[in-house]
């Protein structure tokens, strides 16, 4: 046995044989496994051949005859075909790797497993896949599938005016992206919306963080009484579902019957402000509302951090004669920021896509003349919503979604590279 060990080359033979799935396993005398691979291949070929055939034709042409070929159905079938092919290739590669590994085991002179052991091995290796498969299938169909669909849609001219089955949709390459930057109305609208999205994200988020930190420090003072009650009240805006609060605010800021104009401003002797029709005041109101909604979360986070800062730090600073402001600047603020920075960043990405507050408060209005479907306070995500459900510009909406996702993913990757789990060796 020692002598044959060097001469046999089962791993190569098994791998080459497995080009026909299962053959390598038979060669390695793993009959159950070989049959499984062979069986899977046969099923795969017979069941999916038509889907792959039609799907690939469909995704390339998007249909040739109006009324008969439905471009969007064909696109969907095409994506399914691509996913099926990807799964097929995965199984095929696993088949090759398996043949190679077991061939190697034989080269090294290990006894081949008995049928019983083979069966046990199959159960052992199969179990995690069995448990993962329901979740994975769901993810493929409701998350990955739509993402692929948006990516492909952004390269078509799909809109309400050429929607199937009456008409055909065509591949247009990068035209949607180019149009957004080249055509005057699109470019104008895109940059206006983008500018407000950025201003909104930074103004609203920074304000809510500042208010949250300020109040946390304020309530955390040693001598202050009723801490528990104050904290409960301050968490209240977070406890009420945001959509309810936003709709209530929409009523409060209403130009005619709202309490802000009728009661508060009247009480202060200020004339009514057109909150819902003047772009500047709508934006102002939105930023204030988001601070109201968002500060409790920051407040709770920061309170948690503050309570963990050792008191000695402040006592030492006291001895050195530091003022309140110096203590805050040099002790409190750096520690709070260090501990909560990742959460603070998620607050920025959250507001970047904060559809609820924009849409529920005033529907992105007041309307602006000459903007493609976007009002004065629309941010990218609410503009995409309007382009999809109101204007029916699906291709353009998909292209804008792609650009928006690029921003979100860039920020997310940058953030996750800095978190622990990414560097954890075990994850990999």
């Amino acid at each position: 046995m020692d002598i044959t060990e060097a001469k046999t080359n089962h791993k190569k033979i098994a791998t080459y044989l497995s080009i026909f799935p299962g053959a390598g396993q038979f060669y390695n005398r793993q009959f159950i496994k070989g049959s499984v691979f062979l069986f899977l291949t046969i099923i795969f070929m017979s069941a999916f051949w038509d889907i792959i055939d039609i799907g690939l034709w469909g995704i390339v042409t998007l249909g040739e005859i109006p009324m008969e070929d439905h471009s969007i159905f064909l696109l969907v079938q095409g994506i399914i075909a691509l996913l099926v092919i990807a799964i097929g290739i995965t199984i095929y590669v696993i088949n090759l790797v398996d043949a190679y590994r077991n061939g190697k085991r034989r080269d090294l002179g290990f006894e081949k497993n008995s049928i019983r052991q083979q069966y046990q091995n199959l159960i052992d290796t199969g179990f995690p896949y069995l448990m993962l498969s329901p979740g994975f299938f769901l993810l493929i169909f409701v998350v990955i599938f739509p993402i692929l669909f948006v990516i492909l849609l952004s390269f078509t001219n799909y809109s309400i005016s050429n929607s199937p089955p009456a008409k055909l949709v065509d591949w247009v390459g990068f035209d949607n992206y180019i149009d957004i930057f080249k055509m005057d109305t699109w470019r104008h609208t895109f940059f206006n919306v983008f500018k407000w999205t950025i201003i909104w994200t930074f103004a609203a988020t920074t304000l809510q963080i500042a208010v949250g930190i300020f109040l946390a420090v304020l309530v955390n003072q040693k001598e202050l009484k009723f801490k528990k009650m104050i904290r409960t009240i301050f968490i209240l805006p977070w406890a009420v579902p945001a959509f309810v609060s936003i709709l209530v605010f929409a009523g409060m800021f209403n130009n005619t019957f709202g309490t802000i104009n009728n009661d508060i401003l009247a009480f202060l002797g200020i004339g009514p402000i057109s909150w819902m029709t003047d772009p500047f005041w709508t934006k102002f109101a939105l930023i204030m509302i988001q601070s109201w909604l968002g500060f409790p979360f920051i407040f709770v986070m920061v309170t948690g951090v503050l309570q963990s800062i050792p008191n000695e730090l402040y006592e030492a600073a006291q001895v050195d004669g530091a003022s309140m402001w110096q203590k805050f600047k040099n002790i409190t603020f750096p520690i709070v920021m260090y501990a909560t920075a990742p959460i603070m960043i998620t607050q920025y990405t959250f507001n970047f896509n904060n559809f609820n507050v924009i849409f529920l408060f005033n529907g992105g209005d007041p309307a602006v003349v000459g903007q493609n479907g976007a009002g004065a306070t629309d941010i990218l995500i609410s503009w995409i919503y309007k382009l999809t459900l109101e204007v029916g510009q699906y291709g353009k909406a998909a292209a804008i979604t792609m650009m928006l996702s690029l921003v979100v993913i860039t920020v997310a990757i940058w953030q996750f590279r800095r978190t622990k789990s990414f560097q954890e060796e075990d994850m990999m």
Partner: protein, 280 residues
Amino acid sequence: MNMKTQRLIRLTLSYFAIAVVTMIILYPVLWIIGSSLNPGNSLSGSSMFPDDATFKHYKELFNTEESDYLIWYWNTLKICFLTMVITVTMIAFMAYSFSRYRFIGRKYGLMTFLILQMIPNFAALIAIYVLAVVTGLIDTHIALILIYVGGLLPMNTWLAKGYFETIPKELDESAKMDGAGHFRIFWTIILPLVKPILAVIALFAFITPFTDFILARVILRSTDNYTLAVGLYDLVANNFGAEFTKFAAGAVLIAIPISILFLSLQRYLISGLTSGGTKG
């Protein structure tokens, strides 16, 4: 003496600031309660605390012939509950596999989850809408539930996997020695120990559909199928405030139970959110 006055001034200012913030927080709450008790349908010419306060708007909401409010409430609770059950089951399975087994594709699976978690699930808004229309799943609750579950899976699987890994592996191994099968180990040994994190995830999974507006708005088309968020929005948007008092009553009836639930469970929510944020 000087120190003492300084402290007095500081505390007085602090209490003053807290009082102002408290007023800003409570004003909308009081206003909406006051509005809901107003006898008229719109708010024109009404006062915040009406002399002739009435519960008639609440009665209207509970009358199924006059309003769909109870149907919306039922739809919402049904969607939230099913989302919660499916999410927790799937996540328990997946987190167990990822934390206890080393299998081909594990690394790529985890990477996929990490990337998917970065993309908000309404980014694929158009796709969800078009696909729902094409597949005939538009205006169904099942579509909505599946989308919510799909959106919750990646991030919460990571959260749960982190917790599962704190359970010593020796426990599984000794059970295996005693001849327990894979599923038996999961069910009788691991599951009882990971209840806390599953409770946090259950809470998330219940609250997410409850507070979502955009996906429900895109998928649900007929009034009978609406969730509370979409239904309430309709009450306000369609009639330009002509039914504002009715809306106010509806808002109060949502805000009260949810805030009580939230305030009593906030400790768990916060622990889940912080570990999700810092540990990824």
